[in-house]
């Protein structure tokens, strides 16, 4: 099963696990399965109208899914999916 790596601040919503295994064939389905398993996570990843928050980057292995087929990107057993909130700022 593909595995989703959970960043430190979101682990409190997934029982403090560093990674969660999901049953899915696409990135979209993987994220849906993740929030189905851990409903408290939903509002941190999605806006009220159901869109993935702009600052949430999703990577399949080492690739940004925005540059693949976004939520339709296919995933397979052994794939590593990472949720990475952006890190930015400045004076």
């Amino acid at each position: 099963m593909p595995k989703i790596h959970i960043p430190t601040p979101l682990r409190q919503y997934v029982g403090k696990q560093p990674a969660v295994e999901v049953k899915a064939g696409t990135i979209g389905a993987a994220l849906s399965d993740l929030v189905a398993q851990h409903p408290d996570l939903r509002r941190h990843l999605y806006t009220d109208d159901g869109k993935l928050r702009a600052f949430v980057n999703v990577y399949l292995n080492d690739e940004d899914v925005r540059y693949l087929q976004k939520e339709a990107t296919a995933v397979k057993d052994g794939d590593s999916i990472s949720i990475v909130p952006s890190i930015a700022g400045g004076r």
């Binding site: 601040p9 600052f55 990577y59 940004d64 990475v84 909130p85 890190i87 004076r91």
Partner: protein, 301 residues
């Protein structure tokens, strides 16, 4: 609270100096304890993708972050915070910093870099229940000395209680073969004997002595002492800090005209700045010295 090993603290401050006048950025790796104490075990530098506006914006490439996260995982480390610099701007978070902060429960460390020199380093924890209710809260940074020798070949430097290297006077003669002179002070020698007196850091006959070796490792605070024209001495607990303050730590006694907590306006990066700092606090120190003398303070033997 954020616990940083000295090496990490030095590394992230240097990074800001190296990228000046642009902002630097990087990742803090380590563990978060149950009491939300974040303990850094390593830092990883990251590239700033905001080449369009690098003097006042930073953005860590997520690809760098994935790599750093994976490498950290291999060592049993988690991402527990981030750092960046504010070139020619205070070490306080900005509205942009808050708006762009999304890692709750993590530390955001900011170093002000003035004219290419790192000045203050502050840390803030992102707290709140979500994007609509979040804030950056001041948190204490505790800098700890490295465990064991920083490199295998050299004996570990002597360090003051706060974990910084000590400015030893290697010419001072100790009363004990096993202890340095400042621990085993021979009879007849003045207080602070064994620490290095910086003869060229002198203003109006007052000379600065260093206990914390600010020349060995950059630091924002430390211990020092002042030698008056009559060779009597007072202690200083200094900090690079605005607004200025001058407070008593320990009252005058026959041996010394007090220990004073003082703020310095200039970063303690070299002896010229040390001299300018001494000049700034000298009027208050001179008052204390004069009062001690009027009160019949005993001059050192």
């Amino acid at each position: 609270m954020l616990k940083l090993p000295q090496s990490a603290y030095v590394s992230l401050r240097r990074h800001g100096e190296e990228t000046y006048p642009h902002e630097c950025c990087g990742v803090l790796l380590g563990q978060i304890g149950d009491n939300s104490v974040r303990t850094v075990t390593s830092v990883a530098r990251a590239g700033n993708t905001r080449t369009d506006s690098a003097h006042n914006r930073y953005n860590i490439d997520p690809k760098d972050l994935i790599r750093i996260q994976r490498e950290g995982r291999g060592r049993g480390e988690d991402i527990i915070g981030f750092y960046h610099s504010h070139p020619d701007h205070p070490a306080r978070w900005s509205q942009t910093d808050l708006a762009e902060a999304h890692w709750f429960g993590c530390s955001y460390v900011i170093t002000s870099v003035e004219k290419g020199k790192a000045v203050l380093t502050n840390s803030f924890e992102l707290t709140g229940s979500g994007e609509n209710h979040k804030k950056l809260v001041d948190e204490k940074i505790e800098v700890s000395p490295p465990e064991g020798s920083p490199d295998g070949n050299r004996p570990q430097k002597m360090r003051a209680a706060r974990g910084q290297p000590i400015g030893r006077d290697h010419a001072a003669i100790s009363a004990s073969p096993n202890d340095p002179a400042f621990v085993a002070r021979p009879a007849g020698k003045p207080v602070y004997y064994g620490f290095q007196v910086l003869d060229d850091v002198n203003v109006d006959g007052f000379t600065l002595g260093k206990i914390t070796d600010f020349e060995e490792e950059p630091c924002d605070s430390g211990d020092a002492f002042v030698v008056a024209p009559d060779n009597s001495r007072a202690g200083l607990v200094w900090e690079v800090h605005e607004p200025p303050y001058f407070e008593e730590v320990r009252p005058a006694d026959p041996e010394r005209w007090g220990v004073w907590a003082v703020s310095f306006p200039f970063p303690m990066t070299d002896r010229e700045n040390a001299r300018r700092n001494l000049q700034t606090v000298l009027p208050r120190l001179n008052e204390k010295w004069e009062a001690w003398r009027r009160g019949g303070g005993t001059k050192p033997r």
